[in-house]
């Protein structure tokens, strides 16, 4: 029986592709060693060392209770990422949205305005191209581009790989721009402190109802591009109401990167979240 290894069929490759993941344009140099199996599952025979092959060896069909989360492997890696970040008092935010909501523009402006307060680094996820990472690097912040190939989301393994390839200072802010996709990234914990979902006012106020899972998974929603509201029949209150219908605990902020309206509240939210991390020091005001 051909046994495929995890790397050959990595979960982010949607079926047909394999080995397509790139970090700053480079494939992972060598297949990373498989992490030790999770401790949740302990096969009885293996644990007891009982599987000896010197006896008559018939087995009846056997039911094995598993009760394991399908994404338990990802969740284990995400927990390791979270511990790694916590040890360094790094605030990691996982930014998710549809393609075209203005995530990268928002990040560039966020970095520009927070410059000098604390170090910022960015992980960019896109199926292809390094365009986004180049836009971030132009601000002076280090950025790592992950190209997921055919993959529709970042997963915890990729982000863990990124930690080793990105200069990440203690007490910094790590912004993870997920693949533009309002569906799949909802299910994959990366080890972030919060998922931040961005909904631009050009998208339609009913999107939280059409794609409820992302809004349910997020802790904060940024309603963006509000400078365009005079040209649209978009009702911000209704959009926020729909989002809170699927997630009663969702915090919301409205802002425009272009006009700057509401942007300070977003920066203050980051500062507050950062200040809650054990070991984080207030930003050095420059």
């Amino acid at each position: 029986m051909t046994k495929l290894t995890r790397d050959q069929t990595m979960c982010s490759t949607c079926g047909c592709g394999s080995g397509e993941i790139r970090y700053n344009g480079q494939p992972a140099l060598s297949a990373a060693p498989l992490p030790a199996p999770t401790q949740a599952f302990r096969p009885v025979a293996a644990a007891a060392g009982a599987h000896v092959h010197d006896h008559a060896h018939d087995h009846d069909a056997q039911k094995v209770k598993i009760e394991r989360d399908i994404l338990s492997h990802n969740d284990t890696l995400a927990a390791a990422n979270r511990a790694w970040l916590a040890a360094r008092a790094i605030l990691a935010l996982n930014l998710v949205s549809s393609p075209g909501s203005g995530k990268t523009t928002l990040l560039v402006e966020t970095i520009r305005r927070l410059a000098g307060e604390f170090p910022i680094a960015v992980i960019e996820g896109d199926q292809q191209t390094e365009f986004d990472a180049e836009r971030i690097r132009a601000t002076g912040a280090p950025a790592l581009q992950i190209n997921t190939g055919k993959g529709c989301h970042l997963d915890a393994h990729m982000v863990g790989e990124a930690f080793a390839r990105l200069p990440l200072a203690a007490q910094s802010l790590l912004l993870i721009e997920n693949v533009g996709n309002l569906v799949c990234p909802a299910a994959f914990d990366l080890g972030e402190a919060h998922k931040v979902v961005i909904l631009s006012v050009t998208e339609g106020e009913d999107k939280p109802l059409k794609y409820p899972d992302m809004f349910a998974a997020a802790d904060l929603m940024l309603l963006s591009k509000t400078d365009l509201l005079p040209h649209l029949s978009f009702d911000p209150e209704r959009a926020i109401g729909y989002a809170q219908r699927v997630n009663p605990r969702l915090h919301t902020l409205t802002l425009s990167t272009t006009s700057g309206a509401g942007f300070d509240a977003w920066l203050d939210w980051i500062r507050r979240e950062r200040a809650t991390l054990p070991g984080a020091r207030p930003g050095a005001v420059t």
């Binding site: 069929t9 069909a61 598993i66 993959g151 569906v183 699927v246």
Partner: protein
């Protein structure tokens, strides 16, 4: 289309368990998928067909148990049915409901195929005869 990714993760779990039990084939897989888990069952089944090829779970029967969604209505202070994320409380009409069940995606159990050592040996001998 993250169902393909889920299928890959299910395959990894099946192979790990099958290997730990002496590389036995898996003939049945029981999954629990919640109503609120954002999984398209037909896409998952298709993904499993592809992902389980050349694994210990190839050709396994896939049973999927749908777990009903429910949540805690903050206004009624009681558990109510929640078939969708954006559903209102059937009692009071409020949307202040925190899901408490129906978000799970779990491999519940596997049925390992029966093994008959003599038959396996015969098969091995047959194969070696052909070499």
């Amino acid at each position: 289309m993250h169902e393909m990714a889920l299928a890959g993760s299910i395959r990894d779990i099946i192979d790990e368990v099958a290997h730990a039990h002496g590389d036995r084939r898996v003939e049945r897989v029981v999954l629990e998928i919640g109503e609120l888990a954002a999984v398209e069952i037909s896409a998952l089944r298709f993904g499993l067909e592809v992902a389980l090829k050349d694994s210990f779970g190839e050709n396994a029967i896939i049973d999927i148990i749908a777990v009903a969604g429910s949540g805690w209505c903050m206004r009624c202070a009681t558990t109510v049915a929640l078939p969708r994320r954006d559903a209102a409380c059937p009692q009071c009409g409020s949307y202040q409901i925190q899901p408490t069940a129906g978000t799970e995606m779990r491999v519940k159990e596997l049925m390992l195929a029966a093994v008959n050592e003599a038959a396996v040996d015969d098969e091995a001998h047959e194969r070696s005869d052909h070499v």
